[in-house]
Symmetry: C2
Subunit: 427 residues, 2 copies
């Protein structure tokens, strides 16, 4: 089924059928006992380990195709699976199995003067569509997280990783079946035809409740423009690090290097350094020198160029570029106010950090910057569901509806009200 071409109508019919099966599976999952879901997740992890060789062999085919297609070394590295990486994927699924079951958890409870006892309890969202690009591990992470939250999921992976993802998906389906849950709870779209994405964006005749796009700007923009169903937007991470004049210099140097250089390819990596003009004489040079010494290219304004000989001028485009590479844009701003203005103009509302000892500056930054994650005296690279203690995440949502920041198991749920009375009528 993977290799033969699909006509548009055929794809539409197939996707609609997947939607119907997902809805039916979601009904079963919504009331499945926590223990049964845990059992399925553990069986999935075991199946992944047992199928390591098959998964790596499937991945070898993807890698060959990728090399032929001229994927960049960074892309090929994201795609590549090794025995250790498959083990890490299985461990991730086991970690999700070990999380508390969110479904039925009481989020809030209060009593009314008339004796009504009101509880707000978590429920599944329904059917989730995840559209992602090259990393095959998303297949397992997203599938497992959706299941834990009692949702059915339709996974549409990138064409680069279709063999790897299919092999991983087979293990997830096996785990579901071993636990007596419908295999259709986690479906993988078995075609690389882009028409399948179009069908998902139309909502599969009402059988898709929300779409989570995970990928580059063009994918996310297509999803946001075309989707007729709610979307958990995952824009890029154009993260800023602002160094206030009150900042401890050593800390600022250490945080700037970590925020930019620890891993340059993740969405929590800093892309722009903003330094308080009042600290130009004291903080700018040591920070730029440390970044440069760590192998980072610096593009900056006049002050930056005057300070660091190797720096080149930043263009307007640089301020809105997510490099995902060892490059940073840098400039002076007029205090926290100037930082807030710059961030308001260029940020993708993902993550921003302030380095400061002045509590008022921090409070102003925290109050006025409207991004999903704000950090004080900590690296932007902490923008991660695992680092937040959520166990696992499907991505970082940059929108303001429903989910924001790391999307973990809880963010993949809705809620309902349960009200207990003793015969109350409304006067």
């Amino acid at each position: 089924m993977l290799d033969r071409p699909h006509k548009g109508d055929e794809v539409a019919t197939m996707m609609d059928e997947m939607g119907r099966k997902a809805r039916a599976a979601a009904r079963v999952l919504a009331i499945a006992p926590a223990q049964q879901k845990t059992q399925a997740l553990e069986a999935m992890a075991a199946a992944l380990v047992a199928a390591s060789d098959d998964i790596i062999e499937a991945n070898r085919r993807d890698m060959e195709e990728g090399e032929k297609a001229g994927l960049s070394p960074a892309m090929l590295d994201r795609l590549k699976l090794t025995r250790e990486r498959v083990q890490a994927i299985a461990d991730g699924v086991r970690a999700i199995a070990a999380l508390d079951d969110p479904v039925g958890a009481v989020i809030a409870a209060w009593d009314r003067p008339n004796g009504l006892k009101i509880e707000r309890v978590r429920t599944p969202l329904g059917v989730i569509g995840v559209i992602y690009e090259s990393r095959p591990n998303v297949t397992a992470d997203a599938g497992a997280l959706c299941l834990k939250a009692g949702n059915a999921v339709i996974l549409r992976g990138g064409s680069d990783s279709v063999n790897s993802s299919s092999a991983i998906h087979a293990c997830l389906a096996r785990g579901l079946e071993e636990a007596g849950l419908p295999a259709e709870a986690i479906q993988y779209v078995p075609t690389t035809d882009r028409a399948a994405v179009g069908e998902m964006l139309k909502g599969l005749s009402g059988n898709l409740d929300v779409i989570v796009p995970r990928g580059g700007r063009s994918l996310v923009e297509r999803v946001q423009t075309e989707a007729r169903v709610p979307v958990f937007a995952h824009l890029e991470g154009l993260c800023h690090l602002y160094v206030d004049a009150s900042a401890d210099l050593d800390m600022a140097v250490k945080l700037a290097v970590n925020a930019k250089m620890r891993r340059t390819g993740i969405c929590g990596a800093a892309e722009t350094l903003l330094v308080d003009r009042a600290a130009a004489a004291t903080h700018l040079e040591p920070i730029l020198a440390a970044l440069s010494a760590a192998g980072c290219e610096v593009r900056g304004d006049a002050a930056v160029i005057a300070t660091l000989p190797t720096a080149t001028p930043a263009t307007e485009e640089d301020w809105s570029t997510e490099y995902l590479d060892a490059i940073i844009s840098a400039k002076l701003v007029d205090g926290v106010e100037g930082a807030i203005d710059h961030i308001g103009r260029y940020s993708s509302s993902h993550t921003e950090a302030i380095v400061a000892e002045d509590a008022q500056a921090v409070e102003k930054f925290f109050r006025e910057v409207d991004s999903a994650i704000l950090l004080h005296n900590a690296s932007t690279q902490f923008a991660d569901g695992g680092e937040f203690g959520m166990g696992a995440e499907i991505g970082i949502a940059t929108g303001r509806m429903h989910a924001r920041g790391p999307v973990g198991v809880e963010q993949l749920t809705s809620f309902k009200y349960r009200v207990h009375g003793s015969g109350q009528t409304r006067p």
Copy 2:
């Protein structure tokens, strides 16, 4: 501006301009002190009372037009404003003023082993579009609630109430100005041209973050089909009351009459009565007799017709009809399982109630029915933000994304994470 016709392009330009002004106002509101918002709300309430005569005069013109246009008595009653009703609208705004300010409230807080202190705090959503029909009080309720939550709002009222709503809106704008907040924080669309709704559904060039439709099925369906921005769906209230064989008979009779007949025109009114087949001999007749005695028309299945001489046969359409009138559909079902099946098939996911003494039946009903509000031994007419202790509501959301159930001040917010560190870098 109200009375002259608008060409499509003119409407588009005007709406786009409203969107830009709303976005600018939202930036101011997002960081406005709680006290300033409270002051604005109190000034609005005072302005409403002071302008009572003008509002009633404007309403008189709407009533005249409505009578000419042949509105039903029920529609005219919803439209009508009296001195008492204007006072009640002002009291409602004052009650919203007295609520706790949600913006900046800490929803959750936890520490990480590495010393990071994480807080999840409430933020405004941004710009909200409210599209509603005849009731002019929604102008004040929605405007005040959105302001309290730090959001700008664009209100599109029904053409029936355009004069009343404009007069009320003038008082809201006055309150904002008296408190030194931008009047554009609450804008009222000054045209009855339906193209204005179309522009809102397109999202006003990214300046509208969410749409709240409040009205009948055709409005809500248009919004859900056409909207390119997130929607807090407010479907109709096709509410069910299920009477289990374990129900206390007196309580069941009392609850059925209240759920249906207290007010028949609200979305929390019961529309379908489901009675456990095991209680056919004991419970069915007294409940039907009480409903009939209270003036309710009953449409039912064979058992109902055999029990109540005045009952008429229910058609398939009856099971999916929100009567909003003194009519109920009624049938026997096979226990709680049968009730869950019927509700799953016909419910609008708004509110359902179970009358039962059997805790297992209640637990099954609460676990398996996926509606926003579930009640045990209480009237469906409690489906209301005020009755839930939320102070006020903009409606009852029937979707599962972001808001569900009564949409009060908290449901009109988003959140962000504030993380305090002491120099942590990610290993």
